[in-house]
Structure formats: structure tokens, C-alpha cells
Subunit: 232 residues, 2 copies
């Protein structure tokens, strides 16, 4: 198969691979295979496709990360960590306290897609999260599944009722994670009205760009433990 | 009280505080108090000490992070995250795959202490973790508590028996986290012989500097849940 231009450039110029070198190729939808470079070319590298490989395990349920826009590097880090930890969708949203310009959103989305591809390559995941268009948080909240079919949790360090127990069996989860200044009170109220529950992830305030990593680590660990209990 | 030189400089030059401004001061051993600047001076600022404040909650048990040395920024990030998430001790260790020069360790340790102070200030924690001298991992392993009185867990993404259930009641924990290349097989074997258990934190490989954040998030979340179960 012939690789797309961006991957051809990466293979030939960054990795500096040559004819005969071994690679792994994945389609972003779950397939991971061995390959051998047949032609290394900055525009159209060719790879002979070989045997299937076992990719990193996917989470057992749909996992949506709704993230209040962060500044460049911080948002890139969230996309990278969400990809590594198994997010199926990333929804970048504009919130009351978003202090990042929303223009240039198309270019940003293309960059996040490149970040997600790089992260998936590095961690051996064969599925790419879909990255939604940047939109207001109210729109995104209303496109979430209903509270009866998914856990809708909004990270909120200070909520008095924010101690959520992770379900014993994995279910679809949507995690809403605020921008640097957190959620505004009326955003929390609107989310509660729409069936979202506040979630106190940790008894301390984490940096905005670390909440996704911490939250998904907790969810994946709990799901792994739940999976083992069901098996044993 | 008169602040130490580094804090005086920070107060007067970085925060640019002036006489009458409100501050919070903490002693690194659990006390957090309100204060009012009486004199802002780059060498010896003076603060009037006021009422006690509630600091961020400390974890219910001893929490040791033994971290294989990482490069500058990455190690700083580990110290910062460990401080925020409640580590009581940080043990930087030299491992078989450490690729960071161990000389300059005194200067590095002083920098880590500054990083810990900055992190504690930012998250409202009033206790500073102690930061041990850099030493070989074998020395550090032997200074850990016995496996009968503490969980000794070694993060190891690939271990077949790495699925550890977090204890229902918080107990002392020592978490050994490898450097960028992970643990060498003979290090894992020596650790097992000394009572350490492998711990597969996530079904994917995280970047070395993120393992502490992910691991401590999982531990704190489990401890919080355990605390609530005991109370209810």
C-alpha cells in the first residue's frame, strides 16, 4: 500500500527508514499489521503489508472526553493523553471561562488529529479517537447520550456531592473537563439540569492539562479491575 | 515573621506584593495561616501571621514515590505532581536504564525542593514531601518498609501478574516507577525477591513522566472511596 503524504514524509525524513526496514501500520479503526518498507519517499512511500499484530487493548465502553479549550501545548497534551488512555471521542468546547481564541479552530483540529496519530503510534493503539468540531459547551452537552444510558460526569474539585463511585460494570462515560479557570456556576447548574453529575476526581486541584490524564487513569483502572472480577 | 531569602525574593519581585497585601504562609509540616505583608524586601520580607487556614487534605497513609531519574523537566514534573497528589517522600534512584548523569545531584535536589515548594503553594498543600538523596535503586529498595507493613508496588506495564487490587483500607504504599526505558529484568527479579509486587497501572504504556501522576491519581481516588465507605 502507498502511505498518505504526511506518513510518507514521517517515514522517510523523520524516521529515516529505507527499503527493507520493518514497520507497523494501522488504519485508525482497530487494525494493526506488520509491514516492510518497499519504497521510502517523502511524498508516496510504499509498504508491503504483513501479518496482524495485537494492538493495545481498547476500553470496554464508549469514552468521551469533553474538554474546555486550553492553550496550544496544553490542549495538545490533553489530546495525546486522551488518545493513549483510550478515549473514543474528544469534544473540544468553548466555555464561559475559555480564554483561547476560537478562530483558527480548523487548523487546530488538524493539529490535534496529527497529535492523536502520533500518540497512537507511540503507545501501540490501533484506534484513533474522533475529534469533534470546536463548539459551545451547551451544544455539546445536548449531543451527549442520555443520563440513563451513560455516566455523565463533570469534573468539579469543589463540589460537596462530587464523590462518584465508578460503576461495577463498565458503561459509556462522558467526562466534561473544564478549562483553566474551571466551570462557571451557571455552567455547573445547566449541566446538573441536563443530568450531569459533579465529579471530585482528587481532593486537590490539578493543573487543567492534567485532569484528563488523571481522570482516564482512574476510569481505566476501575474498568480493568471490574473486567477481572467478571472473569474470575 | 521574617521570610527566608528565596521566599522574600519571590514575594517582592515575582508576586510584586507590597505592605498590606494578603498572603498565605505554610511551614511545610502541615500548618497554613493567613498573613499580611509588613515589609516587602528582596532579602528579608516580613509577614504578620494571622488565622489558621484549612490546607488541602493529606492522604491517610504514608505514600512513597521511588522514581528512576528522568531528564530535567520530566523529573521536575514528577516532583510537582507527586507533591500535588500527596506524596510524603520522593526517592530519586539510579537504575540500570537511567540515562541521566548522576553528578550535579546536589543542585538537582535543591531544584526539586524549590519545585515541591512551588507546587505545594499552588495547590494549597501545607506539607512538603521529603526528597531523599539520589542513590542506587538497590539501596533504596532495602530502606523501604517490609512487605508485611506496606504495599510495595513496582510499576511494570508488561507483567502477567501485575493486576493489583487496591487495599480496602489505606495502608502505607511505596511505588517504584522506572525511568524512560523501564526496569531491567534483573531489577524486577531483585524487587520481587525483596517483596515488591509488579503493578500494571494501565493497559497501555504511558510516558515515563506521567506514570506518577496516573498512579497517584488512582491511589488517592481509591483511598478517598475507601474513606467514604468507612464513614457511611
Amino acid at each position: 500500500m502507498t502511505l498518505p503524504a504526511a506518513e510518507s514524509l514521517h517515514l522517510s525524513r523523520v524516521l529515516r527508514l529505507r527499503e527493507g526496514d520493518a514497520v507497523e501500520i494501522f488504519d485508525g479503526r482497530g487494525a494493526l499489521r506488520e509491514g516492510t518498507v518497499r519504497r521510502a519517499d517523502a511524498h508516496a512511500s510504499v509498504v508491503a503489508v504483513g501479518d496482524e499484530r495485537q494492538p493495545a487493548p481498547e476500553p470496554p465502553a464508549r469514552l468521551v472526553v469533553m474538554q474546555g479549550l486550553l492553550k496550544g501545548d496544553a490542549m495538545d497534551a490533553v489530546v495525546r493523553d486522551a488518545t493513549v488512555l483510550g478515549a473514543s471521542e474528544i469534544w473540544p468546547v468553548i466555555t464561559a471561562r475559555t480564554n483561547v481564541p476560537a478562530k483558527g479552530a480548523d487548523a487546530a483540529r488538524q493539529r490535534w488529529q496529527r497529535v492523536a496519530i502520533a500518540a497512537a503510534k507511540q503507545c501501540g493503539r490501533a484506534v484513533l479517537p474522533t475529534i469533534a468540531d470546536v463548539r459551545p459547551v451547551s451544544d455539546a452537552m445536548h449531543s451527549a447520550p442520555s443520563a440513563s444510558s451513560a455516566c455523565l460526569w463533570l469534573t468539579e474539585p469543589a463540589a460537596a456531592d462530587g464523590h462518584q463511585d465508578l460503576p461495577a460494570a463498565p458503561c459509556a462515560m462522558c467526562l466534561a473537563i473544564g478549562p483553566e479557570g474551571g466551570w462557571a456556576p451557571d455552567e455547573v447548574a445547566a449541566a446538573r439540569a441536563a443530568g450531569w453529575q459533579p465529579w471530585t476526581l482528587a481532593p486537590v486541584t490539578l493543573r487543567a492539562e492534567h485532569v484528563t490524564l488523571a481522570a482516564l487513569s482512574v476510569v481505566r483502572y476501575a474498568w480493568d479491575a471490574a473486567g477481572r472480577r467478571r472473569i474470575t
